[in-house]
Symmetry: C2
Subunit: 215 residues, 2 copies
């Protein structure tokens, strides 16, 4: 009997998109069944970890055979909510914001950026990668009309908390925060920090540990 579905640990959630990547490679090679071992080998992980992670998605495999590739892909997409597109706003049409507006990978991960917002009058009214740039004052109205609940925040640290407030007022409940600022928002909102500094810190420390042979 399968255990009742419980909230997945954060490290599990972060690994699941990697499973999806390799599964799509397997599917492209017409491999219709994959085992936890097959997946683990591609990612340098241990089969037992893959098996445990898979259990959280609700997939049921076949002993000796593994998981049906297509079914596992669909189960994972549904688990992540990537099986249907979710609309999002982008706030801050600077260099990083522009890059994200042009990134085609979001579409296959269920995220559709439908409009951009900025304070710069020169940007307002223009289109970036086909998406119109609006003034922040229009956000609440548009969010309501377009039923948008996610904001991708790509503004400088100085403007971040002010923009977070505007997002809250617009009824946005999820913020993907690319700014290094700490956002002070109510419990009801979900904030996901995408902090380049953290990644750079890990790279820096790992390299110097390796050089010094601490490991």
């Amino acid at each position: 009997m399968r255990e009742h579905l419980i909230a997945a640990p954060l490290p599990t959630i972060r690994r699941i998109p990697r499973y999806l990547n390799v599964l799509e490679d397997f599917a492209a090679e017409q491999i219709s069944f994959v085992s936890a071992t097959d997946i683990a080998n591609k990612l340098g992980l241990k089969p037992i970890q893959v098996r445990k992670d898979m259990a959280f998605t609700g997939i049921v495999g076949k002993p000796k055979v593994g998981y049906k590739t297509d079914e596992l892909i669909e189960t994972i997409k549904s688990f992540l909510g990537w099986d249907s597109a979710t609309d999002a706003f982008l706030i801050g049409a600077g260099a990083l914001g522009t890059a994200l507006l042009g990134y085609r990978g979001f579409a296959e991960r269920g995220l559709q950026i439908v409009a951009a917002f900025d304070i710069d009058p020169k940007k307002i009214g223009t289109r970036i990668h086909g998406k119109e740039v609006f003034p922040i004052s229009k956000m609440a109205e548009l969010a309501k009309r377009m039923q948008v609940h996610i904001g991708v925040l790509t503004v400088p640290a100085e403007s971040a908390s002010q923009c977070a407030h505007a997002l809250m007022d617009a009824g946005i409940t999820g913020i993907w925060n690319f700014s290094p600022a700490e956002l002070d928002v109510p419990e009801s909102m979900t904030v996901q920090r995408e902090d380049l500094s953290a990644g750079l810190a890990v790279l820096s420390v790992r390299m110097s540990e390796k050089k010094q042979g601490i490991v």
Copy 2:
């Protein structure tokens, strides 16, 4: 007696840049001593966790007083290797690569991108945010001459493993990988994945858990 310095846990390393951010705010306000509680409050963390993390940097505080702000900033920067600039190459001058080439925040985090590389003949020879774009074939020679050991990889998934190979041949030992591809490199190299999909997955799952009241 202070415990002998041991390799810091990964979650600790990822939090340390956040401490640096708030410390710089405190320093800007001329606050010369800060306690673990002061820092924790700004970040929504627990003081004991901040205190434990700080121990890994080697800082020594004063009971009742806390840590000397300036000294803590310097200790953290030195711990992260951010006290002196490290040169890096960027590979893949597309939208994301261009954004990173223009990002001014790296300088204060010890990273100096000194050149870009691409396969597109139209980009080669041009300058992006002041940095010249070279063909990948020039990388080994330039890495040797400029003593560069870090590569920021911003190419599409399809080219990633090929570029990783070129980086290895050029003597690069650390890769900051912004592509979703899995890189197969020798143990001696350090790879830091900067995976947008993982962050998006966490945001997606957290939001749907909140909506369904699973927590």
